[in-house]
Symmetry: D2
Subunit: 156 residues, 4 copies
């Protein structure tokens, strides 16, 4: 059903822009997440298991799953924005389909509907256990584009 | 509108049980979150600002906000469960009302509707800046009670 | 927790504007819904039971519950908008807390956070059975304000 | 991304069961909705435009869109349940992607993750205008299976 369209980025340097912004998300470094594939309207984030990322049963915490899913979907949207814009998450919903029990989490975010002000995205999260991937969460998200406000570090 | 009912816990030791489970959520230690008030159907989690918890603009990452909101609401539900049960998050939705810009995040989770299998909860998150609290997120959540499966650490 | 603020409408004729727009929602007439209280940031819609509004078990259909909850929350937001604007629902989530079994549904929508472009609202729906009201659904919603586009009927 | 699995129904008469239940949803008759394709884990509902189904701008009301999307996704889940069970919507979230402006609404519901107690589904809604379909809404939903409680009409 969701036949994902091919998107044309407004900014030829979209991937560099996404990577630079991701590098400023300090929480990604804290948890050990890394940016994978960055394509127009599609971004992947991976997170290897660590014992300090868990809920009470020793699996990835739902908040950790949400953290990478929110960013994967957010950067999927941001990849289609103009160079001088920023992105804000307006809201997201996440369904947790199965315990996030495995050695690696992978979130793939994709744009469902781009828009001038609002962009709708989604993310699918899989957990890899013994080398086999299994869906463990799905996120649907609304993003806001802040035009004319580049996503740059604050001047020092 | 949401007139929160007073709830009677099934387990007199609910607060101890919540605190023990929270202590096993290793991600809470990683980010520096601490459990506050634990009452029947209501649980508070606080998180002081740290520069390694941020999104690209230097505010708390939405995933971090979600992490403490999910746990606050989840433990609000769990506080009403029987002693020999566990809790799973089925889904949640979060609206981000304002940038989480401040020195402290506080999530207060409350039970909206307890149930035998499913419990509906919500959480309000405020950010405290220069000593003033301001709402920054609202979460609505569905929990599942796993009866007869105590939330205990795995045997070694 | 959700301490609803008192809101000051931008348009003194907000109630008249809400009532005129509601009157143009033809589906409200189809199902028999009526507008109740209209206050700044708070709107009530009531719907008496009819056997043609049901799901397969003879209770109000979740879509019918959603219809009045979406409009109650949407008009709660719209009551705070400027006179020359329209309102669009961006998204909503609804938790169905109990079967909507009764002689009357009542949705009360309230603004959680007004904003220039986006407004966050919620609605609580109760079902009245034998004269007693019981919560049966909760909705959380994001609205968009279309400034400079009055909500008027299309010219003929 | 969402590669929909092929599902094997537990009940060979699933389609007949879905059609009988749909026929008992009186609101479908009120609004003029008709059941389309019924496959294991996938159900389609169509709704021709009528002027009495509208919001204030003359397009399908979001609640009407939600009504057919909720039922399409709900019956997609129900198609995989055992013969002696019923289905309840626990919650859904809907993103409205574009105004539902056209001569026909079509909702296609699909199962994302079946489960013993809870099933996660989604629906995509398109609006057909001048013969061209365009996505206008996306729903994500949690269903509950009531085992041992057949979805039959109440005895008179």
């Amino acid at each position: 059903m969701p036949e994902f369209a091919e998107f044309t980025p407004k900014d030829a340097d979209f991937a560099e822009r996404v990577r630079a912004s991701f590098a400023r998300q300090t929480v990604m470094d804290l948890i050990g997440a890394r940016l994978g594939r960055v394509a127009p309207g599609e971004v992947e984030i991976e997170l290897p298991f660590r014992p300090d990322l868990c809920q009470q049963h020793g699996f990835f915490h739902a908040g950790v799953t949400s953290t990478i899913a929110d960013s994967a979907a957010g950067y999927a949207g941001y990849s289609l924005f103009a160079a001088d814009s920023s992105v804000l998450t307006v809201e997201f919903k996440i369904n947790l389909l199965a315990p996030a029990d495995g050695e690696l989490l992978r979130a793939v975010g994709r744009v469902v509907k781009p828009g001038r002000t609002l962009t709708v995205t989604e993310a699918e999260v899989s957990v890899v256990k013994n080398g086999r991937a299994k869906p463990c969460a799905r996120l649907s998200q609304t993003l806001m584009c802040l035009a004319g406000r580049p996503d740059i570090p604050e001047a020092g």
